[in-house]
């Protein structure tokens, strides 16, 4: 038995790297092992090259590379368990969060949005990618399954991010959901059906899955398409925005007129007093409607009142198309709520009475709170403005009322005696 020289060892080290051993950790093991094998065989009669080639034959043609691949596979397998449990836990947690969040939202409890948001977030960034990676690993031999899991991954991420975007009122939410669903039905489903009907086991299961996919995707598309057609909703929103702008404009004009009137009547203390009183009364009513608006937005959207006060009207577009406000505004159960329709009506009546006492010729027709004819039926003012209306319409009606207050104020300011 002879020891190998430094050059020979260096030669082997380089050679096994060429043969595919890139991991330095593994290369230490194998270098020593091969050296031991060679030293066992080496004597005065056999030269190094012959023995080395004979030793390599023991490993087979791709032998060294296969050792490294096997090592990597085993090491990944260890991660597999970790990933598997992380996937399961994140799946349970995110679905529970979404369920509880939905329940909270239904009950109008605080924290509903944050729950749904984190649920969908975890699902999108943790559960779905892990599911995809694990599925991808377990089906590496089958091309169709790989394509299937890629499409499944992309469409499920699109759908869940669509939901996430929707909750956050980010743009593109609807498009994402629709593309995700279309991908699911027109790409995932055909490949899935093909692969299932080649493989006859579990046909009932597969049929159930197919029906669920079609029904689920259909519901998602219908859901994201409900509400109004784009043209109708666009023109509605133009109306809302314009009313809002007009209301803001009238507020400014009224403010200016108030200052002008005050300056004009510097010498008439009674008139000044009356103008101030009028201004105070309209401000009181106006502030009430503004607060009412913020409160209703905060309840429906599950955001704080401060945020609701500053919300951009456009953000309400994609949300709040449900009737949860009717109860709050009209039912006796919520009579203690500060901003019921009845209380608003009372405030308007009080204001009208006050204005009437200030100016006999005041035109109060804009603040009419009488019954209205709706589809041939007499409906009281509260119902006609608030019953079964979604948040955007309720907000729109409140903006209109604010506009009417300002218009009345402006008209009456000029008539104050």
């Amino acid at each position: 038995m002879l020891s190998l020289t430094e050059e020979q060892i260096a030669f082997i080290e380089k050679d096994i790297r060429v043969r595919g051993i890139t991991s330095s950790d593994l290369s230490i093991d194998l270098l020593d092992h091969i050296c031991c094998l060679i030293e066992e065989e080496l004597d005065e009669y056999r030269n190094f090259e012959t023995v080395y080639e004979k030793t390599l034959l023991l490993f087979g043609d791709q032998g060294l590379k296969e050792i490294q691949e096997e090592t990597n596979r085993l090491l990944i397998f260890k991660h597999y368990y970790f990933m598997n449990s992380t996937m399961k836990i994140s799946g349970y947690i995110s679905s529970m969060m979404i369920l509880i969040g939905a329940f909270f939202k239904f009950q109008h409890w605080l924290g509903a949005n944050i729950l749904i948001l984190s649920g969908v977030f975890f699902m999108t960034v943790l559960f779905l990618p892990l599911l995809f990676i694990l599925k991808f690993k377990s089906t590496e031999e089958n091309n169709r399954s790989v394509v299937l899991s890629i499409i499944g991954f992309v469409s499920s991420v699109l759908i869940s991010s669509g939901v996430l975007f929707r909750v956050l009122h980010w743009p593109g939410a609807r498009m994402m959901t629709i593309i995700g669903c279309v991908l699911l039905v027109f790409a995932y489903l055909p490949i899935y059906i093909l692969s299932v009907y080649k493989n006859t086991t579990n046909k009932i299961n597969a049929t159930a899955t197919i029906i669920l996919i079609i029904a689920g995707a259909g519901l998602f598309i219908v859901e994201s398409g409900t509400g109004l057609s784009k043209t109708v909703s666009d023109s509605f929103w133009r109306g809302v925005t314009e009313s809002n702008d007009l209301m803001v404009y009238n507020t400014k004009v009224s403010e200016n007129t108030y200052q002008v009137m005050l300056n004009k009547c510097v010498n008439d203390s009674i008139k000044t007093e009356n103008i101030k009183k009028l201004k105070e009364a309209s401000d009181h009513l106006f502030q009430f409607t503004s607060k009412m608006k913020a409160n209703l937005i905060s309840i429906t959207e599950g955001i704080s009142i401060e945020k609701a006060e500053k919300i951009n009207l456009d953000e309400l577009r994609s949300s709040g198309w449900n009737n949860i406000l009717t109860e709050r505004l009209l039912s006796d159960e919520y009579a203690s709520f500060d901003f019921t329709a009845k209380k608003l009506k009372q405030k308007i009546e009080d204001y009208k009475e006050f204005v009437g006492s200030m100016s006999k010729n005041a035109d109060l027709s804009r603040l009419n709170t009488n019954q209205v004819l709706v589809y041939g039926e007499q409906v009281n003012w509260e119902k006609s403005n608030f019953e079964n209306l979604p948040l955007p319409l309720v907000v729109f009606n409140l903006i209109r009322i604010e506009l009417d207050i300002k218009s009345t104020e402006l008209a009456v300011l000029n008539q104050v005696q």
């Binding site: 060892i9 230490i28 093991d29 270098l31 020593d32 092992h33 050296c35 490993f59 090592t71």
Partner: protein, 116 residues
């Protein structure tokens, strides 16, 4: 994965880990080649461990924290010695016990006459 002239591979599959753990719990510190030689010697060449089975397993055990390694300079090259960790010792006991129990069960199942 073993080269085993005597036994079919499905019989041998799954026993390598137990064998390695047993070797390491008997001899505290071993390197790869030494393990293959030891098994060859103990089994009279009936079982020969190949490199392709041994090293991936050793690396897996290291990643699981069952064994630790230390490198020692041997002449002009480096040799990596494997030692059981505390958890590894426990694992070795479990594995050996499990296998002994398995053999006992197989004895009953296959109705083997106890060899005298």
């Amino acid at each position: 994965m073993y080269i085993c002239p005597m036994y079919s591979s499905e019989l041998i599959k799954g026993t390598l880990k137990t064998v390695i753990l047993k070797l390491l719990s008997d001899t505290k510190k071993m390197y790869g080649y030494e393990m293959t030689q030891k098994v060859k010697e103990l089994t009279d060449s009936k079982i020969v461990i190949t490199e392709g089975a041994l090293y991936p397993l050793l690396h897996q055990l290291e990643a699981e924290g069952v064994v630790t390694t230390e490198t020692v300079n041997i002449g002009k090259r480096v040799r990596k010695y494997y030692t059981l960790t505390h958890a590894g010792n426990e694992r070795a006991k479990e594995k050996i016990y499990e296998f002994a129990d398995f053999i006992h069960t197989m004895n009953i199942l296959l109705d083997l006459k106890p060899s005298i």
